[in-house]
Amino acid sequence: MNDIDLSVSIGPIKLRNPILLASGTVGYGNEMSEHIDLNKIGGIVTKSLSLKPRKGNPPQRIVETPAGMLNAIGLANVGVEVFLKEKIPFLKQFDVPLICNIAASSVDEYVECTKILTQEDFISAFEINVSCPNVKDGGLQFGNDISSVGKITAKVKAVTKKPVIIKLSPNVSYISEFAKVVKEEGGDAVSAINTLVGTSFNIITRRPKIYNVTGGLSGPAIKPVALAKVLEIKQKVEIPIIGIGGISNWQDVVEFMIAGSSAIQLGTINFVNPTAAIQIIDGLEQYCLHYGLKNISQLTGSYILK
């Protein structure tokens, strides 16, 4: 063993290491637990939960693109009640921080979901999805509007003592303005970024490949965009950032931390390599050892621009 400290803090949230599994890429943990020891990762962010179960979009929901993929799942989920009754008991056997991602069609629904879920002690924090590009009601209509993001942050904060993270959309001109309002309204951190809106056509049928017409682009293709958004927030607003966007290996994690992330989330890579989280944690430890970093959190925002 060595004395490398991989632990990080996202505001009030303490994690044993900076590796979280992103919402929508880890389900409710059960499938993933067959591949990796969930006790070793920094935390899990659940599939977006809504007040009532959602069926999600009809097929086709996904299409591969160069170094990435488009998805339009449409927030298919079991709803908060079934989650509490049937999904949480399984997760409780693990010593892993659980962050509940919440999606909603109205401000009231965000508040309602939070009120119900906050009573469950096992939940460490909330990540509020104001940026899903694949549903007609809610989602981006909030994420693109600064006053809505501010309102949702304030109202959700008012009904829970647990930390609240707002997951921001990259489909805006200045993401830092959204991070600023989150901070002003008492939000504890931001996740950046959600997927980028994209589409793809079949050149024979001339129809979109995805039923929803557009989908959210994820994977290595969006990494440079995500990094620039993290950097923009870091330079403009003093708020903890969880970096997300195409992270596939430990080198990417280091890059995101240098750009300003306190922790990161692995998304699309979980589909390709379900054991990526563990390999990345090992890689980070070796990196710290090699470069004499005692605590990985020293990396956060350590960029040198000139």
Partner: protein, 254 residues
Amino acid sequence: MVTAKSFVEEIIKIENNIHLLKIYSPKIASEITPGQFLNIKVSDNFFPLLRRPFSICDVDEKFIYIMFNILGDGTKILARKRTGEELDILGPLGHGFKTEGNFDTAIIVAGGLGAAPFPLFTKQMSSLGKNIYSFIGGKSESDIITYGMNNTFISTDDGSFGFKGTVIELLNRNIKILQENKIKIFSCGPTPMLRALKEFCVKNNFDCEVSTESAMACGFGICQGCPIESESKKDKYLLVCKDGPVFNIKDVLI
């Protein structure tokens, strides 16, 4: 279900430009039932990014066979693999065919590359002492794959090989075989064929399992990318990767 280090043993060209990839993968090979699939990473980089799902065609002790046609970037890369190259495989995935049950005759209905899961299935049926009739259809002679199947009945849309017409029409012409035995139908193929088969099975009250396919990313239920409409539960989708890929034809909307 595991990710296991596996190695390319050889690539064999069979009929009509169809390739068989023989993979050394003892751990996965020991757990397979017919109709399950593998999700294979064909490259060790982001081109292409996602794994590719393949029906398991056959198993021979420590070796697994998959059948493929060169159609896109993934299969192009796969076809260039050399003996000894490492292959990153996730599997076996999903639920396969229920090979045991109250029937003495298995009727295979395969369209085009839908023939892929049936060599292993045929082996297993034979070892269970069941009779097998294999109805195989395609657009043209070049689509017909009979590899690993017995008692074949062939149809082509253009009449270039066997019966001229669809495989379901051919099935209907031989309905006596079906009615005189205790049968169960097992099928895999393009959606229009499965749709016609469903109609045929409902009309004649035949029990039938179908192997479905869908675009997918993970292959084990976390991406939710491969929904298929359930006949009974309208409030949620089933997943091809986890609830399937084999379903009773009555349970899914095709």
